[in-house]
Amino acid sequence: MKNSTVFALALCGALAFALTGCKYDDSEGVGDLAAGSELVDPNANTAGTDVATDTTDEDEAARRAAELAALNARRDADATSLADATGVPFDQDPNYARCTDVDFTPVYFGFDADVLAPSELAKIEAVAQHLKLKTDRVVIVEGNCDERGSNEYNLVLGEQRAIRIFDYLVKQLGIDERRVQTKSYGEEKPAVVGSDEAAWSKNRRGEFAVYQHK
């Protein structure tokens, strides 16, 4: 994607989030923008880059901003129709196929926590880099938990972990949110079977399943 387009989309996206009350609160967890992000510095020198016509960029930006505004309005709504709450995940969509040529390192979490440790951010940035290179690819972030605690609670904790990774990919690293979905396995799909900290620490994780548009 062209740099100017990236910047325009990011700016509109940030504006839309701000105007609609910014559903997500990043007051803790992911911290500052990570190195390597393409989203900052509106004064960056774009000379020499392949720039599309201004009119096309503006139209695209306006369309995207309208989409984001509508999306955030739906997100903030207290009452919703069933149609707005339903959809097809990538792994059930016949238009997508699982990619087997990439295998990203899991992101690990602390006990009963959904906070992204600084040591884990580079793993998410690697996924973002891949998605930026392969624009026909999408990702499902899978949240997992260790076996301790209620399996019902662990199901939502796993989803919350996946959402923290989603947030970092989308809001900090600029990946189009339509290319990222979340899923929780709770405690149902441990990476390591065992009942000690060595196993538990490997099971509190977020994994990445990459799909490609056919």
């Binding site: 009452a79 129709s81 959809g87 926590a113 209620s150 929780s184 149902e188």
Partner: protein
């Protein structure tokens, strides 16, 4: 019916068991109750497999009801021929006969007739509802994302496997119609809520929600479903009006997750779990105003609340590194809370229709727990007969029991 504490029974029974140490068959008959129970004699006849099954189920269901002890020469006497007419005499304060004349020819039907008779005896003797015919749904975990859904009766018999999917089953709950079970399954690789008819096995997806869908609990009106969804971002508590196909958000906790909602009997309040304070605690929410308040503070994790027919909730509480079950009136708060089990791995309690017994899992096995305060006190003092009773002894990792009521 009030029970008197009978403190010497434990010591007496222990002495009996020591005297009979070289006769294990006798030890098995010693009743270690700390709470007096009503003696009942079972003197029914019959030798066919169906009649034998009836007699065994009759004894077992009388014992687990919490009210009776099967002994010789009791005032309440059950006689007759199973499959023909069976009569329980001298039941209740009016000393009436309770009769059943349902014919049967197989063991399963025989057990069902025995359960019906026990429920009738409990009702006449105590005025309370019996739970013998109310099924328990539960899950089996076999491995990574590998499990199935089952039901059985409280006597542990007639276990029925309802799914054969080899996918994890989480949090089954009965609908008020006593037929549909709602649970979270991974049939489509992502956690979604399914409705399964217990008698036919017919199943359908509640809705193809985006993101997480779990914790479905059907309101007493049978139309509204409290459910945890993440289609708007963070997992939040919603009410899904099933006929109208509309969804109403009840919580807005940007940095927290909600889980395990449960309706009160009137259908205007919900208890649920939230980790707003970074550890899961139980909250009480008024559905009309959407106002909620935290109601548990003791215990580092309080989860799996279930709101019983008499207005009390039971939940799992982590204290000192282990889990106990706690019973509490949610409108009165923790001042009314009582611990009803010894420390262990207790999770997922679910009330019976009698508002006294609870089914729960403990380290991969499922138990019946009598929460009567005197029984609890006796059990915690070590009287084996009042301790939680294993639902069945089948090998496996059994979890998430939900009692139909």
């Amino acid at each position: 019916m009030k029970f008197r504490l009978f403190p010497l029974t434990c010591a007496f029974s222990l002495a009996l068991s020591l005297l009979a140490a070289d006769k294990p068959a006798l030890v098995a008959n010693v009743k270690l109750y700390g709470v007096e129970r009503i003696p009942v004699t079972v003197a029914t006849t019959g030798t066919t497999p169906a009649q034998t099954a009836f007699n065994a189920a009759l004894r077992r269901n009388l014992q687990i009801s919490g009210y009776f002890d099967v002994t010789p020469d009791a005032a309440i006497r059950i006689t007759g021929t199973p499959g023909g007419t069976v009569v329980a005499s001298n039941v209740g304060k009016d000393k009436v006969n309770v009769k059943i004349s349902t014919p049967f020819t197989d063991a399963k039907a025989g057990r069902m007739v025995a359960r019906e008779l026990v429920d009738a005896i409990v009702n006449v003797q105590t005025g309370n509802k019996g739970f013998a015919r109310e099924r328990i749904a539960f899950a089996q975990r076999k491995g990574k994302d590998d499990g199935e859904l089952f039901t059985c009766y409280p006597d542990g018999y007639d276990i029925r496997q309802l799914t054969a999917d080899k996918h994890a089953v989480v949090g089954p709950r009965w609908a008020p119609n006593k037929e549909d079970i709602y649970y979270t399954g991974f049939l489509q690789k992502t956690p979604l809520v399914y409705r399964l008819a217990a008698s036919t096995g017919a199943r359908n997806l509640l809705a193809p929600f985006k993101g997480l869908a779990t914790g479905a609990a059907i309101a007493p009106d049978g139309k509204r479903c409290a459910i945890i969804l993440s289609f708007q971002g963070n997992p939040e508590l919603y009410v899904y009006d099933m006929p109208a196909k509309t969804i109403n958000r009840l919580t807005r906790t940007l940095r927290a997750s909600e889980a395990s909602p449960c309706w009160n009997p009137k259908g205007d309040k919900i208890v649920y779990v939230s980790d707003e304070t970074r550890q899961p605690q139980i909250y009480l929410l008024d559905v009309a105003t959407k106002k909620s308040a935290r109601i548990t503070r003791t215990g580092s994790q309080n989860t799996n609340p279930d709101w019983g027919p008499d207005g009390r909730i039971v939940y799992a509480s982590k204290r000192g590194g282990q889990n106990v079950l706690v019973v509490m009136d949610p409108l009165k708060g923790e001042d009314s809370a009582c611990v009803v089990t010894a420390p262990g791995g207790w999770e997922h309690p679910s009330w019976a229709v009698d508002g006294r017994h609870v089914v729960a899992e403990n380290n991969g096995a499922i138990y019946l727990i009598d929460t009567d305060p005197q029984v609890v006190a006796s059990a915690l003092k070590g009287c084996a007969g009042d301790k939680p009773q294993l639902l069945f002894r089948n090998q496996g990792h059994w979890m998430n029991p939900a009692w139909c009521r």
